[in-house]
Amino acid sequence: MQLADQPRVRQWQLLLLLPAGFLLVLFIVSLGAIANLSVNGPQGLTLEHYARFLSTPVYAYVLYKTVRTATAVTFVTLILAYPLSYLMSCVGRRTARVLTIAVVLPFFTSVMVRTFAWIVILGRRGFVNEYLGRLGVIDVPLSLLYNPSAVLLGMTYVMLPYMILTLHSVMRGIDRNLLRAAQNLGAGSVETFWRVVLPLTLPGIMSGSLLVFLLSLGFFITPALMGGPADLLVATVVQREIELTMNWGFGCAMAMTLLAITLLGFVLYYRLAGFGRLLSAEER
């Protein structure tokens, strides 16, 4: 019975190669092309683009600022997401479901639309300036956009759901009895948090932070739309190099450098996420 079925299943499984083929063509090949462009000069193979990128102060500064922004976004996101995730894991199932939907809801619209929404809110003639002006708090509209804080705000907003969902999945797995046990053994709320909750959620903190950090590194739309001319991040510069100055080699070298940093991060991420999965599996 099973033997007779096997060939058919195998044939059917061949269909699964189709998406794999897509991936191969779309990603591997195009990535290869980019890598190829980044090391190709007029005189054959060269690393001059990489050298220029990393040694030119302006570009090195952009790279530094990108990493710094991603770090800041990660930090702020973590601080904001942690209490909410904790709350979500404590409340009843129905409330938790409503909260989860609320968290996931932004995914239904594009990042572009959501970023423009922020521009509508914070713009020179946006809601905030309008109301503050009407209330007489300010005479001249505040410039709330096109500065590093606006980039931080916009990016944090976009990244928050990723962090919340990652943290929530870890927190939900914590046995409530452990918290009761801690209390019973004499630990108050604060002590229970430091000695039990925080250590047990550490894997979630690690993987959530890495996920947000990596996504932030290559983030394009929000920093490009909400940042000022001084707030260029790597992704934006890559786009300009290729689209405006047609400097393919240099743009590709920057993209590859960013990719290298991201890959390094992903190796770390999988180590930690794997560790987290291991821990929760063993608990059960």
Binding site: C90, V91, N177, N184, S189, V190
Partner: protein, 394 residues
């Protein structure tokens, strides 16, 4: 459940509870000489919606006794325990530990240890750190912690396992760590919620006696929750039998087994022949005559008042019935052996009688035990004092 969790997690001590003094006692010598605390409940009640999970229970658990709450699942025993621990706040009534009302005292200040059914060992801490936890939060000095925890690990035969993680231990070892952790801060009472439920039968029997000995040595009050009657009878000084949120009977194991106060207790503990009938006549000192539906007569004792003509159930333990060969005498019932089951240490007969239906008899398998054949005519005998008569459940 979820709201209870929320309350436990998110409430920071309100000013009132924050000022409640923690019962500060110096940590005694490792011999753990400890006078237990009495736990008294006064009309305690827990209502969820329309359902009274625990309904107006008053109970006085004496200092230093091994007290068991026994009942089927859903009888409210765990809720009652959690109200003592402080995880569930009662809808009404009071809980006193050592004469002090603790209803407003948060769990971390109640100074009662608790062993959870799944042990609730901290998975990120070693065995040593788990046992040291209550001392760490009490800011006991490092050297004192080391000494106490090492002593306790030795006492619980966990020497050399201090560096292990809980998941690396066997079920029995985890259980011992949980008990050690709950005792290390010398609580005056130890609460246990089916702590042996997850273990296999042989280990469970071993640990039952271990816990009993431990309780004698430690001297703390043990409040034990179980649905296993054998466990309750083996370990307890006294047992409360619970059903649907109320206590049916409180007494020592012998009392509740031999003199059940209600039909539920009689049926819940051990095996019992239940024979229905009507009250025919009353005798002095609780004596009663019952006429069974098949025309037989049974004399017995009624623990609570029943009236003539009332429909009742007569309960007789199988081991209190003797099988005899001949001679119709007083209190003998005629019957035919319907089934014989050999149990090694005992033999169970099912005897079909004309007046009382099928009656189960259990006899010790003694050296001169007579072997009855199926179909054999026998007589059954019992004492009227071994028959308990209860009003039939409506």
């Amino acid at each position: 459940m979820a709201t209870a969790g929320l309350r436990g997690l998110l409430t920071f001590p309100t000013p009132r509870t924050a000022n409640a003094p923690r019962v500060e006692r110096p940590l005694g010598p490792p011999a753990m000489q400890n006078r237990g605390a009495g736990v008294r409940m006064d009309k305690i009640r827990k209502v969820y919606g329309d359902i009274a999970v625990v309904g107006d229970i008053s109970l006085d658990i004496r200092a230093g006794e091994f007290f068991t709450l026994l009942g089927p699942s859903g009888s409210g025993k765990t809720t009652l325990l959690q109200m003592i621990a402080g995880f569930v706040s009662p809808s009404g009534g009071e809980v006193f530990i050592d004469g002090r009302s603790v209803v407003r005292v948060p769990p971390q200040h109640r100074e009662v240890g608790m062993v959870f059914q799944n042990y609730a060992l901290f998975p990120h801490l070693t065995v040593f750190e788990n046992v040291a936890f209550p001392l760490r939060v009490r800011r006991v000095s490092r050297s004192a912690i080391r000494e106490r925890v090492d002593n306790l690990l030795r006492l619980f035969q966990l020497e050399g396992l201090g560096g292990r993680m809980p998941r690396q231990l066997s079920g029995g070892q985890q259980q011992r760590v949980a008990v050690a952790r709950a005792l290390v801060f010398e609580p005056r009472a130890l609460l246990m919620d089916e702590p042996l439920g997850a273990l296999d039968k042989k280990l469970r029997e071993e640990l039952q006696l271990e816990l009993k000995h431990l309780q004698r040595r430690v001297g703390a009050t043990f409040v034990y929750v179980t649905h296993d009657q054998e466990e309750a009878l083996t370990m307890s000084d006294r047992v409360a039998i619970m059903r649907r949120g109320v206590i049916e009977q409180v007494g020592d194991p012998r009392e509740i087994y031999e003199r059940p106060a209600t039909l539920f207790v009689a049926g819940f503990l051990g095996e019992t022949n239940l024979i229905t009938g009507l009250v025919k006549g009353l005798e002095p000192i609780g004596g009663i005559t019952v006429e069974t539906h098949d025309g037989g007569r049974i004399r017995g004792m009624a623990p609570s008042r029943v009236g003539v003509g009332e429909s009742v159930v007569a309960a007789i333990r199988p081991e209190r019935i003797a099988v005899v060969n001949d001679g119709p005498g007083t209190g003998t019932v005629e019957g035919v052996v319907d089934e014989a089951v050999y149990l090694g240490d005992s033999i169970r007969w099912k005897v079909r009688t004309a007046q009382h239906g099928v009656v189960v008899v259990k006899e010790q398998n003694r050296a001169n035990q007579q072997v009855r054949q199926v179909g054999e005519h026998v007589h059954l005998q019992w004492l009227p004092t071994d028959v308990r008569v209860f009003a039939a459940a409506v």
